[in-house]
C-alpha cells in the first residue's frame, strides 16, 4: 500500500487519491489499517478518499473514522468518486 501511494504521488499533478477496494477475500479492516500505515509512512499531503465494500467493510470504515488522519471513507463508489472530484477542484 505504501508503495502504491509513493507511485501515485510521484506525479506532482495528483490532487487527491481515491482508494477503491472491493474486499473479496481481502478484509477491509486490513486494508484500512494498511491505508493508515501507508499514509504515515509516505507522508501524504493530498486528501485521501477511501471506498470500502465487501468483507468487513463496516469495520474498515470504523477504523478510518477513528483515525487521527483525515480520510473520507464511503462505501459507495459513486459517492466516493464525487467526493474525490470535489476535493480535487
Amino acid at each position: 500500500m505504501a508503495k502504491a501511494f509513493k507511485l501515485i504521488l510521484a506525479d506532482p499533478e495528483v490532487k487527491v487519491v481515491l482508494v477503491n477496494i472491493f474486499g473479496g477475500i481481502v478484509r477491509c479492516d486490513l486494508i484500512a489499517q494498511g491505508v493508515l500505515a501507508a499514509i504515515e509512512e509516505v507522508g501524504v499531503s493530498v486528501p485521501v478518499v477511501v471506498r470500502l465494500e465487501g468483507n468487513n467493510a463496516e469495520k474498515g470504515s470504523e477504523i478510518l473514522a477513528n483515525a487521527n488522519v483525515k480520510i473520507e471513507s464511503l462505501n459507495n463508489l459513486k459517492d466516493a468518486a464525487k467526493k474525490a472530484v470535489e476535493l480535487a477542484s
Binding site: F22, G23, G24, I25, G54, N55, L77, K78
Partner: protein
C-alpha cells in the same frame, strides 16, 4: 440449471497444501463446494482439510474420481499442472494463478483443445454457481441464485456486477471469470454458448476491457447466435494507449483494442451497453423488464 459447475461437481485442488489453496479451499468447502481431495507432489497420503492428498492427478482420479480441477500452483508450474489435469480425464480445469508465461499457454491451449477439456483462466477468479459450488477466489456472500449469467475478464469488476445484480434481486445463474491474460483457456464466445443453452439464464452480462479483440469477436457471435439479451460494460474508457492496465492482456497496442472501438462494435451487434460501472445492474434490470 446453471453452467459448468453445480453442487455435484467433484473438485480436486492442485497445489492443495499451499497457503493460497488452503485459504480458498476452506472458503469453498464452507460454501458447500464438493472438494473431494487435493494434489501436492510429495505429500501424497496426507490428510489436509479433512480430505486426502495425492501425489499425482492420476492417483486422485483413481481414488476419488473428480470431474473438475482447481489450480493454485505457482505460475512456473501451471503448464505442467494444467496438462496433468487435462490428461487425467477431468472435464473442466480452472487455473487461478496469475503470471503464467504466454509461451506456456500457447502450448497448453493447443493441447487442452485437442483433448476436448475445458480450461478456464489462467489469471482469473474462477467460477461460481450461487448456493451450489464455488471454484475460485470470489467472495461467496455477495452472490444470490438468479437469472443473470456473468462473464468477465476482470475479478473485481465481476464482483461489482454481482453485487449490483444481487442488490436488485436479479441474482446470478453462474459467474465465470475467463481471466485477463492474452491467451485465455476459454473465450467470451465459449461461455456465451453455454449461457445461451442454460434455461436459468435470462440475460447475460459481459464485462470486457481494453486490449485484444475478444469483445469484437464476441459481438459478431452475439449478433448471429445469441438470442438472449446481452449487457456489456467495457473497462478502460480513459486508458492511455501503450500502457498495460493491470492485466497482461489489457493494453491498447497500435491503436487497436480501445474501449470506444469495442463499444461501437458491441452496439452495432445489438448489445446493450452500461456506460458506467455502477449501471451494470440497473441496465440489466431495465433490459430484462423490456
Amino acid at each position: 440449471m446453471s453452467i459448468l459447475v453445480n453442487k455435484d461437481t467433484r473438485v480436486i485442488v492442485q497445489g492443495f497444501t499451499g497457503s493460497q489453496a488452503t485459504l480458498h479451499s476452506e472458503q469453498a468447502i464452507k460454501y458447500g463446494t464438493n472438494i473431494v481431495g487435493g494434489v501436492t507432489p510429495g505429500k501424497g497420503g496426507q490428510i489436509h482439510l479433512d480430505r486426502p492428498v495425492f501425489d499425482t492427478m492420476d492417483e486422485a482420479m483413481k481414488a476419488v474420481s473428480p470431474n473438475a480441477a482447481l489450480i493454485f500452483v505457482p505460475a512456473a508450474f501451471c503448464k505442467d499442472s494444467i496438462l496433468e489435469a487435462a490428461e487425467s480425464g477431468v472435464e473442466l480445469v480452472i487455473c487461478i494463478t496469475e503470471g503464467v508465461p504466454t509461451l506456456d499457454m500457447l502450448m497448453v491451449k493447443k493441447r487442452v483443445d485437442e483433448l476436448g477439456v475445458r480450461l478456464i483462466g489462467p489469471n482469473c477468479p474462477g467460477i461460481i454457481t450461487p448456493d451450489e459450488a464455488k471454484l475460485g477466489i470470489m467472495p461467496g456472500s455477495i452472490h444470490m441464485p438468479g437469472s443473470v449469467g456473468i462473464i468477465s475478464r476482470s475479478g473485481t469488476l465481476t464482483y461489482e456486477a454481482v453485487k449490483q445484480t444481487t442488490d436488485l434481486g436479479l441474482g446470478q445463474s453462474s459467474c465465470v471469470g475467463i481471466g485477463g491474460d492474452p491467451i485465455p483457456g476459454s473465450s467470451f464466445i465459449d461461455i456465451l454458448k453455454l449461457f445461451e443453452e442454460d434455461d436459468q439464464t435470462e440475460a447475460i452480462v459481459m464485462v470486457g476491457e481494453i486490449g485484444g479483440s475478444a469483445e469484437e469477436e464476441a459481438a459478431e457471435f452475439i449478433k448471429t447466435s445469441i438470442t438472449k439479451p446481452v449487457i456489456s460494460y467495457i473497462a478502460g474508457q480513459t486508458a492511455p494507449a501503450g500502457r498495460r492496465m493491470g492485466h497482461a492482456g489489457a493494453i491498447i497496442s497500435g491503436g487497436k483494442g480501445t474501449a470506444a472501438d469495442k463499444i461501437t462494435k458491441l452496439q452495432e451487434c445489438g448489445v446493450h451497453i452500461a456506460d458506467n460501472l455502477l449501471e451494470i445492474g440497473s441496465k440489466t434490470a431495465e433490459v430484462i423488464n423490456l
